[in-house]
């Protein structure tokens, strides 16, 4: 299945030309994501919190706060909604109204599974290796006690809407805008700075492969982003 099925909930009505339906596009957005915003209904009221995330095949793994009743909502197999958003640029138009943002956004609807046993351990390893590629081979595995204190959710990617804006500033003809005013895009990227060792790391111990790999990923993402492509002659 290479196209995302469009349901009543995932059909985008406003600026529908920005809806992307390629599953590959969704995968790229999720594979670049470090955090996702998870919303649930708790006592009739919406709650949204940030979670660490990693894609695992056709599902998104989520690891984060057990607070605010979100755990309870998930354990009771209630519907949740998860947003993954990459802000790629500020769009600078010649009118207040036409100012916008370039972004890639995925919104997932579904019911999450609370993972247990070996599934949980594997998912936790997948999360860590997503954030820090190869880190699980550099450190000891989780203990039973640690696993018991961990919550990992698995949300299938069955009902997802993807919306993308990757364009220059909009200029409508004859709408009174002053064409001598600069318009364009200010591209935004996430970057990694130099790694900072904890105080107890001996001087001879160098930054490991996993951290180099994580830092490289930010550079690769910035290189591949649509906003950056526009910059090149």
């Amino acid at each position: 299945m290479t196209e995302l099925p469009i349901t009543a909930r995932t059909r985008i009505h406003r600026l529908s030309e920005r809806q992307a339906v390629e599953r590959q596009t969704l995968m790229a957005i999720l594979d670049e994501a470090l955090i996702a915003h998870v919303a649930a209904v708790v006592d009739g009221v919406p709650v949204v919190l940030p979670f660490a995330c990693a894609r695992d095949g056709n599902a998104l793994l989520l690891h984060g706060s057990t607070g605010a009743g979100l755990l309870r909502a998930c354990a009771e197999a209630q519907p949740i909604c998860v947003a993954v958003t990459h802000l790629d640029g500020l769009v600078v138009a010649r009118s207040v109204f036409d100012n916008s943002m370039n972004y890639r956004s995925a919104v997932i609807f579904g019911i999450a599974q609370v993972l247990t046993g070996e599934d949980k351990e594997q998912a936790l390893n997948r999360l860590v290796d997503h954030l820090l590629p190869g880190r699980t081979s550099e450190v000891r595995p989780s203990t039973a006690k640690e696993l018991a204190a961990t919550l990992v959710l698995r949300l299938p990617l069955d009902e997802v809407s993807v919306k993308i804006r990757a364009e220059p500033a909009t200029t409508s003809p004859d709408d009174g805008e002053n064409r001598r005013v600069w318009a364009g895009v200010l591209p935004i990227h996430q970057i990694a700075a130099a790694p900072v060792p904890t105080a107890d790391v001996a001087e001879l111990i160098s930054v490991p492969r996993s951290v180099h790999a994580a830092a490289r990923r930010f550079i690769a993402n910035a290189d591949a982003s649509p906003a950056d492509d526009q910059e090149r002659p």
Copy 2:
């Protein structure tokens, strides 16, 4: 009122030492934010979407999608929840379990007001000047037609929880971690790349003050972030 009131919903139970109660801390988090994730309950199901945001006194202004029933929920004065999250670093620990993230997170509960008339126009200008400082003085004002097509929400900052992690990697004594393994933080920042003019900008027109000011803000934020501070001797 310099402290945030703690309610049943805003009290953080898990890792409660990370709860911040200074109103000033909340303001700094919001003033650095470009987007917020807005959650509402629509037909009994949670929906979360990204919105552009700007703080205005003791409220957060939100501008974004009218889709997915969120507008309806807000117009009907239903409770919403808004999360603003800054990811400041990947925390690289000596065990899978202790890996973490450094972040600053604000979660706001409340009922949003749908702005109209002059309030709406002022709020839209405030949003634009937050993203691009001074931009409203460089371009023509909004037309009545444009304002009619715009949705701006105002959410009071009355019930907010703020959670911050700005620490090195956790190392518990005697938990089997190999101390010869590197541990630390990989700081993450948002940066702006060089502005990209649209095709119709004449060569003589230089990048305006508002865009320079927006770009400078990213640098200032990176300089002030806790993760970056650790880097300095």
